[in-house]
Amino acid sequence: MAAVLPLFPEQHRAAPKPALLWILGLAGVASCAVTAGLASVNEELYQPALRVLLVSWITIPFVFAGIVAWRRRPDSAFGPLMILAGFTTQLSILQWTNQPVLNTIGQLCDLLVAAIWLHVFLAYPTGRLAGRAERAVVIIGYIAAVGLQVVILMLGGFNDRHLLTVANRQTAAEVVQNVQLLTLSALALIGVVLLWRRWRALPRWQRRRPAQIVINCFSLSLVMLAALLIAGAFQLPGFEIIRLATFATAGLAPLAFLAGLLDARLAKAGVSELLVQLRASPAPDLQELLAQALRDPTLSLIYWLPQYGSWADQNGNPTALPAPDSGRRVTVVEQHGEQIAALVYDATLGEEPELVEAVSAAAAIALENGRLEAELRARLQELHGSRTRVVEAEQNERRRLERDLHDGAQQRLVALALELGLLAEQTGSDPATQTRLKRARSEVAESLSELRDIAHGLHPAVVSGHGLAVALESLVAATPLDIHLTTDGLPRLSEPLEVAAYYVVSESLTNAAKHAHATRVTVDVGVIDGTLVAEIVDDGIGGADSERGTGLRGLADRVEALNGRLRIWTAAGKGTRVRAELPCG
């Protein structure tokens, strides 16, 4: 069975211990029980049952959604933040007691819940505040909620059960409180704007439905919160109803978030569809299928090639894993304990690790096939590359030898011949000396002639020096056949191309003269649509085949090393047609 490892570029955080999560869950339930207890002993409380219900309605969803999120995404701080928000809601309940310290804490935390909601909503989905504006809003929110609350309490605001009163300035306290409420409501509305700004900035494909529901719910909660705070500041008549609606909405926010998590699981239903498609014939484009299943059009699929110790794309081209800060994430797919492939996808998909995991696992078998294919292509490329290098190296070596012969031995022999010639001029008419000199000169001439043949066999210098057209004209002139040569409009091309085409014609003419017993040959060489085409047709006995003649096999190597194609049509009694096509665009 395939294993799937998320290879997140950032540091991993250990998953929270299940015991801790259980304790937090139980604490959440217990805190609601405490709330109910406090409400039952407080006789001044207005609509105690409803208040308990509302507080629990906030606490339980936040704590439990936080627990689920933390367990699923240990890397995200969003889960712990939600849990914190859930318990913070409970803190304000302490003001229901008459115990001075607890009451003070409760009063201090009365509006903290507004600030922490702002924090949670703006930190969605990573748990971190992404922008400067978000950070400023949240910090000001905390200062307004807690800092101003301290001032109000010191001025003797609210009731006298807390410990912070230093002066009894009710009017001033009310002014500060109004400033506090209006500030927080303004921040809540700014928060809505920030949420929408972030949403609009996402690429279209990332604006998925579950995320949209979450953002909508968060925005609605913030709007309600702003309305509640304004109603509080101006002591509007419908305050209690607005509070009810606000708390009801805020409790829905974590539920919407949970629904988003659930949707990631539901998306796995698409995996079964993927499995069906993977079995389709002919084999589908795996990368495209995975991109569809993961709803990330930027997804790329790369394969691990153990022989090369490197990653390669579907065509076998070497490729590297993305850099940690590139906004891409990588999930490595393993089989039998060995990595076979990796999915490289947008970092936002990291929010749905279960989906990535399910999709990768489903595709593992197909990935193995895909990897073998990529490996095969890489080998072919390597083989082709090495053949090209061998042909090039041979070509370079031959050219070097020809050059050495030309500049060395041949020049020296010509100088020697010249010296002998001058000597013969000066020696006078002693017949014996003249005879020996003549013999020496003819020996030198013979050596020069042999060297010339060797040099020409090594490398057709006329091709590199004067071009294919000139070289072919010489070649045709030196071949004892009736040849019709056409090289009209042939431009100068790169040396390897010209030399390869020269050898194709040369070898074909040799074959036509020596083996095929041809009398007439047509040679057409020209560039057609960015391809150098050399075609040689003879009227010989045919029957040439590339396996028999090492000459023709060598030609095919030479042509294929240049990404070209050599084809030979030959049938007994029907002549031979050789056609080389070499891309030169």
Partner: protein
């Protein structure tokens, strides 16, 4: 006669200069590159230049290009191209317009001092000197219904000599016959091959080459 030399091998350059000086020919410039030759010729035009086909820096076609430039810009200066190999294709390029005042010989020919000097003088005087291997190579080509088959061996010999740029007197010398007999052979060859008789010796070189190539 005044001659400039372009040859990058010092050994050979000095050898040829020695050969020319011994023959009473003034060497006006001894150059290692094609560019140097063109500069020296512009300063002091000689009667003829001797150019190695492969010259620095790339040792590919620098000499050839210098020769073609000379032909174009100094039509009165004879150009004798020397090479380790002779190519029919290059001969055709060199003689594209006319065979006047041009020669193309294997480097080996310098050892045949007398013949070499004669060829050089011919080129300087506006005649031609084509390496015999070019003609013999072209004669090897087999043609179906070949008019060359109608030639006798002696007439073939005359044809080859004509193609090298030899004059009637030269043909007579080489074949050890009278000049009159040589003239007769020449006209017979032209008639048999259907080549219109042409005036100058260099024109008939071109005529023979074009006939052989067709």
């Amino acid at each position: 006669m005044r001659v400039a030399i372009a040859e990058d091998s010092v050994l050979l350059r000095e050898g040829v200069a020695q050969l020319l000086t011994d023959a009473g020919i003034e060497v006006t410039a001894r150059c290692g590159t094609a560019d140097e030759l063109l500069v020296r010729v512009a300063e002091d035009p000689p009667d003829a230049v001797i150019v190695d086909i492969r010259l620095p820096p790339t040792h590919t076609d620098e000499g050839m290009r210098a020769a073609l430039t000379m032909r174009r810009e100094y039509p009165d200066v004879g150009v004798l191209v020397l090479s380790q190999y002779v190519e029919v294709g290059l001969a055709m390029r060199l003689l594209a317009d006319s065979a006047e005042g041009v020669g193309y010989l294997l480097k080996d020919r310098v050892s045949e001092v007398k013949e070499f000097i004669a060829a050089l003088r011919r080129v300087a005087d506006g005649g031609s000197a084509l390496d015999p291997t070019i003609v013999s190579t072209m004669l090897k080509r087999h043609r179906s219904s070949d008019p060359l088959d109608a030639l006798t061996p002696r007439e073939r010999e005359v044809l080859e000599l004509m193609a090298t740029g030899a004059s009637n007197a030269g043909i007579a010398d080489a074949m050890v016959i009278t000049q009159r007999a040589a003239e007769k052979y020449v006209s017979t060859v032209f008639t048999k091959l259907g080549i219109p008789a042409t005036g100058s010796e260099s024109r008939r070189v071109l005529a023979v080459l074009l006939f052989l190539r067709s």
